[in-house]
Amino acid sequence: MPTSGARWLALGLLLAAVLPLTAARAQQLGAASHVNPTPAGSLPLTLDVEVSLAHLHPGASQGGLECGAIVRPGDWIKSHRGEITDYASADKLVLSPAHYLGQSGSAAFALSRGAYGGSVRFATALTQAALTDPATRAPWSPQPAVLIVCWLTLNGHAAAWDPSVAPRVAAAENTGFVASSPLVVAVQDLSAAGMSAQATLHAQGNYFVPGAVALAAQVGGAGAASASTATAAVPANQPGQNGAANPSQASLNPQPISLQVGLNAAGSFQTPQPQSIQVQLTAGGNFVVPTAASVGANVDAAGAFTVPAPLALSLSMQSGGAFQVPAPISTGLTLQAAGGFLPPAP
């Protein structure tokens, strides 16, 4: 049936397209964590890297080492090792030639909360081609050795080395920065019995992760039609009004306002019992009283006073908490006596 034939054709094309890719990926992943079946005449090589990572970008979830190994004369390695300073140079001198020879791979590991600690192994095998100088078609000499390079990857991308002291703001686009070198370099003498090398990689991120900020403030006053009964210009940087310079004080918790009443009596008068003065403080102008503030004061008539004229009371208002009053507030009071005034004592 034509339909069935088309299906088989499609399936065949699909398999033909997918299977080589899968096989290639499996080979690459295998190189990362396992020793490949060593072809005849090749030399197995492993590098165990003790990795310690911390304070990485919070979005970094996958770490890895992208590694490669090449064989070169000892003098060449000595003279070129110092040239490997960044990913580009590592790629040019080692990773890319190693990839060409099939001696590269990556070993992945999971990051937890931007950190990782453990051993990561890179394993490969040096082929006969790797042991041979292509220019002379003779074995590398003198003193051939293996140069192994690994570069840290984060979320699949080569980590960037930023040695600056200043942190970076952790954003979505900059997951791959570390403050110390993400490079691992190891040199191993050639040995027909196989080679095993060790190295360490300690790297830390230097990120600033903005945290939540909580503030409190207060605003308000009488409306346009209301006459201010009192005004107080609040300093701009004082909490409680249009500013809170100190975040620790920004959370307003108004405290009782303390009023000191000074009674100035010019003459002498006497009250039969202590008189109570109640003052209602209302908001006006530029400050707010969340609840009506009541102030009490006692006039103790222990002695005798003479008052030739209406009493003048001056109030000095001091802030107890969030309210900041730059200067004493003066207001007028009317004193009403609940008891009876007594005549001056004879």
Partner: protein, 212 residues
């Protein structure tokens, strides 16, 4: 140094990914039954919000408004920068009153916050033209302003400022920001209802902590 040195809004973060997804969809043009691969592309995107942070303002207010006011809102804005820049902006605003204060506020905070989507409007429940209460207002602030464009690193003493300005509207829905002014002359302007005798805004700042 300018407080707001960024000449243009950064491109939407998902844009390249979306474009790639669209291109992939066009190129593959698979039957509908096989399109389950498309959501996976989105799922593979980074979790949103790295570098962003939330600033919350507990705003207590107590005021009485003109009888013509039918609706009131807080329009709140947030902006992050280095402490020096924030302090300078605060000083510029607070040195002014009335319309000049509004202009300074708009220039230093409201406008850039609106541009970066760091602005919100909150209704104030009025009762007979009065309000006495507290509201919690939260804004998400991006990290762009915390990064020094020259060096790519964190600005010195990262700080965020948040401000809320009272907006007033009459029964016809006409209105705008409230303004501080002494009692008006007879024959006051039509927008007299927007006038208050107190500063109709709150403006505060705090350091941005490092949550790492």
């Amino acid at each position: 140094m300018s407080l707001f040195p960024h000449p243009a809004r950064p491109a939407a973060r998902g844009a390249p990914l979306r474009a790639a997804a669209y291109a992939l969809a066009i190129l593959t043009a698979v039957p509908a039954g096989l399109r389950a691969a498309a959501p996976a592309l989105r799922a593979a995107a980074r979790p949103p919000g790295y570098g962003e942070f939330v600033v919350t303002l507990a705003l207590s207010a107590s005021f009485e408004l003109n009888a013509a006011v039918a609706r009131a809102t807080w329009v709140c804005s947030a902006k992050a920068a280095g402490r020096a820049g924030i302090d300078a902006a605060l000083a510029r605003i607070k040195a002014q009153t009335g319309q000049a204060a509004r202009d300074a506020y708009d220039s230093a905070l409201s406008s850039p916050a609106h541009y970066y989507g760091q602005q919100t409007s909150v209704d104030i429940p009025l009762s007979r033209g009065q309000y006495h209460g507290a509201q919690s207002i939260s804004l998400t602030v991006g990290s762009a302003d915390l990064t020094d464009r020259a060096s790519g690193h964190l600005v010195a003493e990262p700080t965020v400022m948040i401000g809320c300005w009272l907006n007033l509207y009459d029964r016809a829905g006409t209105g705008a920001y409230a303004y501080q002014s002494p009692p008006a002359r007879p024959g006051a302007a039509r927008d007299e209802f927007r006038r208050v005798t107190w500063a109709p805004y709150v403006l505060t700042s705090a350091p941005v902590p490092n949550a790492d």
